[in-house]
Symmetry: C2
Subunit: 497 residues, 2 copies
């Protein structure tokens, strides 16, 4: 390992041709401690990498960069192709965007791979058989961070799911399972409630799964799936799921194996990859030399596999397993097998002292298949006939007793043109025509307009409809156009409709 | 208990004045078996209720009612005021709306209360100390079921969160904790990512919590919170959270105590309440007389508490605890303390045989405080100054290499009026001005338009902007207006902005 430099150009001309530049972010909270420990192990093991520090996180936020990094950082990252990142702290409060999410999405790191396994009996766990890999979709879902407050009472966040996003992550999961000798892939979603978004994910899983008859396959609803993962992790092998669900279940999977401090993750994209611990910056234990560097070290091992440095990866992994077996433990994994309770630094020393040794009880490191080559994801078919058939117009409205009939009457008084009022819902529940008096009514009303004859309409019809509300004091706050795709409606009905 | 009748009017004139009409839905899958078992126990215990069967669920869906029930059902429900409901099966596939969600939302059942505790050592569990109550928001969040497909590649679901919804559920959680002698309330959300929606929930928790200094309070991020609940449930007491998170963690909490078949839930609204098991219709074990009726029985006990029939509730609960202690177990809770493995029917017989007995090891039933009287939730303040400052217009666009600069140029060519292009994002990531080439680009573009001078605009300006795209072949698919509220922006920035 050559020495760190702040000059990104230096990274392109390492002294030794096989030394690979790796961007390194030391992070916040426990970040600097566990990164220092990890880099010391990598150096001692002879990793052929050249760390190029980048500055991201809390201090950069505090300087006024609401994205958590400075614009010149992109060039450094691109020069490296790989980032080893310690956790960072996103300041609470408005204005700051999560740097992690921005990095993943900007660099197209669509697959978040999180292996979680137990190291029983050496690390205390109630689930000694757990050995599961979570493949989490990393770019979509509610993490688009598109939020709007448009009425006094209601705020909204958009959940976005794409066909290609689903295809890429599902494909990755099956290819990963095959390459790593895994037997089963479980998909988790809430497709019984979110029939279009999670339904799309489920459909893609079924369709792509048909091409992998050698692998066992199942789909579970996320609630029972998370519960079963928490109680019977040994039933699972590879799990593929959407972003938010994956965020939750990978903490569950890591924690039941003994500590969130044990698991690393790879964030994989077509041209870039980022490696980090799955946990956060744990400010409550920062600066105390007690954090477990194991998660970041696992991430570094995955990185070395990704870079093709398999011997170094295996050497570190085996030394780490041996350290756990020898009972050299940080406080988070202390238990009856702990022989020596150590801090972050001393744990790294113990791993370094064991480089070259292999575990005697735990299975030794498996050679990573390295980077996966995915079959190309076909572009989404564009020869679908798309027809505009109406629009949902949303209003802020809070007049009188908020009687839906009164709103319907007002809308009908004003709306002219091809589109006529078909339904009103409040928080998704149909309140007109024919609602129930018990339904709580916020100031946020979705009013569905369709052509009287059910036929196609034009964008001009929508603009005409909106302009008919001008001068009426009606505050329309958003629209959602209604389309059919090859005659299939691309919109849900109201609840109770 | 008088005999069931289909005539809702009969329910209003029971033979005995203290007999209360209760709507009863037998449900699908294992529903009829566990409902029959539960009603037999209620009858034997002398519950002063008058079951009025309603017909909901799969068979009604199949008749073509996409909501899962017939319109006349509302009258029956209203006549009863309380519903005891077995799980139902929502048919897979488009068009069908979840009956459970519709019932909860239409009847304003905002609080979903799910106590989960361990019955160790009689029921096998790795977490003998678990005794936690989940208070789940029941009407909002992604369960609004408002989904749209507006481009060939992208589908969307709206997550809606309201100030009053948060206030009601948080208030309920604190009042519940006090009334039930609980010590701590933990809120779970993802406010570090969803700063407006989950951020609102978090703010309300902090504000209302200040009025309950007698209760310990904490907030955790949902991922680590779920993980810690799965591994250390004894750290939690009362948990309050949003709808989707609550759905997931209550299955976790129930499952770690031994079986999802053990937990019941109350769905509480201002004028109506519904009681059900937390699990679903488990079609895989339906009709086999193996399902555990315990969850529905727990729901019925909560219902009796709600109706003020405390002695009957306690009598049933104690007999049930005694049955568990005696080792009379359905297969899902079988373990080393099982003396007699029984089916659904025989389990009910065993509980009936023990009516009047109390447990000898497990703590006997606590008297329920019954219905909570909440302080009135103040209406959301409406004297906030709301100012329209722009709009996000979303386009389907897939031309050439999908170069954001090309889209920006096209938009600028057409857009006339007060609003000018400020930013373009794709799945939330800023791609113009100054995006990064690695960012994956779907056919779904959010284009932010603001007044050049940052000043207020009018609805007419928005309509003018939209009309400037007519005749351009630009397919605008939705809008999200941008408002400030007392000068605070009601919208998030782009990722990387
Ligand atoms: N990728 C990232 O950069 C990332 C990911 C998640 C969160 N975060 C950020 O991190 C901050 C804190 O978030 P959080 O408290 O929810 O989650 P967290 O940082 O993962 O910490 C949760 C708890 O896990 C334990 N823990 C985590 N890492 C550990 C380690 N290496 N060794 C030993 N124990 C460890 C600590 O528990 P005990 O106190 O019980 O010891 C800690 O309080 C927030 O600002 C959040 O936005 C960043
Ligand atoms: N409130 C409701 O009406 C409600 C709620 C949730 C789901 N659902 C619907 O129920 C259907 C099935 O959903 P799902 O399979 O995801 O969840 P589920 O019905 O809760 O069943 C999941 C598993 O839990 C076990 N289980 C559930 N209840 C049990 C009981 N009383 N006794 C013993 N074991 C029990 C069974 O496991 P084993 O196979 O391992 O024995 C079952 O396969 C779907 O149509 C769903 O929409 C309805």
């Amino acid at each position: 390992m050559t020495h760190a430099t702040l000059d990104p150009h230096a990274a392109h001309t390492p002294a030794h041709p096989t030394v690979i530049p790796v961007a390194v972010a030391h992070g916040d909270g426990i970040g600097p401690e566990i990164m220092t420990a990890t880099l010391r192990v990598l150096e001692a093991a002879g990793a052929r990498i050249h760390p190029v520090p980048i500055r991201v996180g809390e201090s950069v936020y505090r300087e006024g960069h609401t994205s958590g990094f400075t614009p010149d950082t992109w060039g450094t990252l691109r020069g490296a192709g790989v980032l080893l990142k310690a956790p960072i702290t996103t300041p609470q409060g408005g204005g700051y965007k999560s740097l992690n999410v921005t990095l993943r999405k900007t660099l197209g790191l669509y697959a978040n791979v999180r292996p979680c396994r137990s190291y029983a009996p050496f690390v205390p766990t109630l689930h000694p058989q757990a050995d599961v890999v979570i493949i989490r979709e990393n770019e979509e879902d509610l993490y688009a961070g598109i939020e709007h407050r448009q009425t006094r009472e209601v705020v909204q966040c958009l959940k976005l799911v794409t066909r290609q996003g689903c295809e890429r992550i599902v494909r990755y999961a099956f290819e990963y399972a095959r390459a790593h000798g895994r037997k089963k892939v479980t998909a988790l979603s809430k497709n019984n409630i979110m029939k279009l978004t999670d339904g799309l994910f489920h459909d893609v899983f079924r369709d792509i799964g048909a091409q992998y008859p050698d692998l066992e396959q199942e789909h579970q609803i996320i609630d029972i799936g998370t519960a079963r993962l928490a109680t019977h992790p040994e039933r699972y092998d590879v799990i593929v799921t959407l972003n938010l669900y994956g965020d939750i279940i990978s903490d569950v999977a890591a924690e039941i194996t003994g500590s969130v401090g044990l698991a690393g993750s790879a964030n994989i994209g077509p041209t870039f990859a980022m490696f980090e611990a799955i946990h956060g910056s744990a400010p409550d234990i920062a600066g105390q030399n007690v954090a477990n560097p194991g998660g970041l070290l696992q991430a570094a091992v995955m990185m070395l596999g990704h870079l093709g440095q398999h011997e170094v990866a295996e050497c570190i992994q085996n030394a780490w397993l041996r350290t756990l077996e020898d009972g050299v433990h940080t406080p988070d994994i202390a238990g009856e097998h702990t022989a020596q309770s150590v801090g972050t630094r001393e744990f790294a020393d113990a791993v370094i002292a064991r480089l070259g040794q292999t575990p005697t009880h735990l299975p030794a490191a498996r050679r990573s298949p390295g980077q996966l080559t995915l079959p190309p994801i076909p572009p989404a078919p564009r020869d679908v006939t798309k027809t505009l058939v109406g629009t949902d117009v949303f209003f802020e409205w809070a007049q009188g007793t908020r009687d839906p009939q009164a709103l319907a009457d007002t809308l009908k008084d004003h709306a002219t043109g091809a589109l006529t009022l078909n339904m009103i819902t409040n928080r998704g529940v149909k309140v007109w025509p024919g609602g129930q008096q018990e339904t709580h009514r916020t100031d946020h009303w979705r009013c569905r307009f369709l052509a009287a004859d059910g036929q196609a309409v034009t964008h001009a019809d929508v603009v005409h409809l909106l302009s008919s509300f001008l001068g009426s004091n009606l505050d329309f706050i958003k629209t959602e156009h209604l389309y059919t795709f090859d005659s299939v409606p691309g919109f849900s009905m109201g609840q109770g409709q």
